[in-house]
């Protein structure tokens, strides 16, 4: 209906955003009847989200007209932001940013470089930046999950870890079990996404390609490629970050730094 009235694609997009926001706000208002008051938060989030994404879209539109190398600083900035976000999950573990950054850069950066060299991901800005950002974002999420799980496991097993240390165990041995479980837990979303692909959901990239006229089979296969690549970058990212973080959880004198609420009683 909107398409019949508005021809300019930017104005059409704004009108569509307005309809979507109005619907979301209407649902929020409906919740008021159940005495759930989130209308202020929802209004701020809707306006903020629209302004942020419109700004990012404008910047991307300007960058897309730039040379190909522009994708390098753009993806590097995304990786730094991703590392800063996922490091918060590590709590007070020293060196969390370094571990997160190394994980995201090696995981997503390495996989992007390999896939670009292999010709799986095209090097034009219009493909490399959005596909690359998907890999960075998923590496960030997996990294955050791994660090969060590791911190939780260590804090829940302080007595066990310190008992092993007191018996002369190497620090990395005392947390090896928790590194493994953190790594496995962090990959659950990526593995489940691949497992349920096409059955439970049709991902946005494929839907977008089909909407813009790409053959559905080609779109479907490319979607698989992207999800498989996401699994590689997430797995590599977590492997690097958990390997680094298991060392920084201990001081040079092999004392557990991340003790949480545990403290001497007497």
């Amino acid at each position: 209906m909107l398409k019949g009235w508005i021809e300019d694609p930017t104005l059409l997009g704004l009108a569509q955003a307005g309809v979507a926001a109005a619907l979301a706000f209407a649902v929020v208002l409906l919740a008021r009847r159940r005495r759930i008051h989130v209308e202020a938060d929802a209004a701020v989030a809707l306006v903020r989200g629209l302004v942020q994404i419109a700004l990012v879209g404008s910047v991307l539109a300007a960058l897309m007209r730039g040379p190909r190398w522009t994708s390098v600083p753009l993806l590097a900035a995304m990786m730094a932001a991703a590392a800063a976000t996922s490091m918060r999950r590590a709590g007070r573990i020293p060196g969390a940013f370094r571990a997160s950054l190394a994980g995201v850069v090696v995981g997503s950066g390495g996989v992007i470089a390999l896939m670009t060299l292999a010709g799986v991901i095209a090097t034009d800005l219009g493909t490399l930046v959005p596909v690359g950002s998907m890999l960075v974002a998923n590496a960030m999420n997996a990294n955050g999950l791994a660090l969060d799980r590791f911190r939780g496991e260590v804090q829940a097993h302080v007595a066990e870890i310190e008992t092993a240390l007191a018996l002369g165990a190497a620090p990395e041995e005392t947390v090896a079990r928790f590194v493994r479980s953190s790594y496995e837990a962090s990959l659950i979303p990526a593995i489940d996404s691949l497992r349920s692909l096409g059955i439970v959901w049709i991902p946005g990239l494929m839907a977008g390609m089909v909407l813009t006229g790409a053959p559905p089979l080609a779109a479907a296969i490319y979607q698989f490629v992207v999800l498989a690549t996401i699994l590689s970058s997430s797995a590599l990212s977590c492997l690097v970050s958990t390997t680094l973080i298991r060392k920084t959880a201990f001081s040079p004198a092999e004392q557990l730094v991340l003790r949480g609420g545990a403290a001497g009683r007497g």
Binding site: A166, E173, E254
Partner: protein, 232 residues
Amino acid sequence: MDAPGTALLRAERLTRVVAGRAIVDGISVEVAAGDVLAVVGPSGSGKSSFLRLLDRLDEPTGGTVYLGGRDYRALPPRELRRRVGMVMQAPVLFPGTVAENVRFGPAQRGERLPDADVARLLALVGLPSFADRAVDHLSGGEAQRVSVARALANRPEVLLLDEPTSALDDASKRGIEALVTEVVRARGLTCVVVTHDLAQAARLARRVMVVEAGRVRRVGPLEEVLRAEGMD
């Protein structure tokens, strides 16, 4: 501070400050080879924190500890912890059998403790037929005995015990006290026992250090400290 001598273990102005608060505040004490020192004090006095510093599970912010005359910061942490064994307040056993737990320490150095040694240690702690038993079927007292055997498997020179009976019933408590006395006597072990119970300190140790607010209030021979504390 005690008179300097040929102590096996010597804490010198040992201090740990956390968030601006001294939880261990300049403790100096010596423990001679084969001696048992009981560290007594109310909850929150810093006695467990002092014990953790002796095993370097926490880092002193001031002072240090000498083991056999050598500053323990010069020792690799794993060597230090092999030589200074520690038994925690609540025993934590690793999943598996009793024998696997007893073998844990030597296994960290790539050594396999022979079956005969496992049997000897388990007999010493009063659990002669427990080697193949799964640890999740043990009582609190049995678990604490296994943790003593596991610490002894490393052949430590010093054994640190952090309130080893606080989680046990009276019968198990007396059993562990008898075990500590026997182990110290049979092996000539140097021992530091943390307890909040002065009566237990009297049963286990020849020397007592009373700690209050992270500081030494009194240290000396058992009778002297008991008299000064009005408990003779």
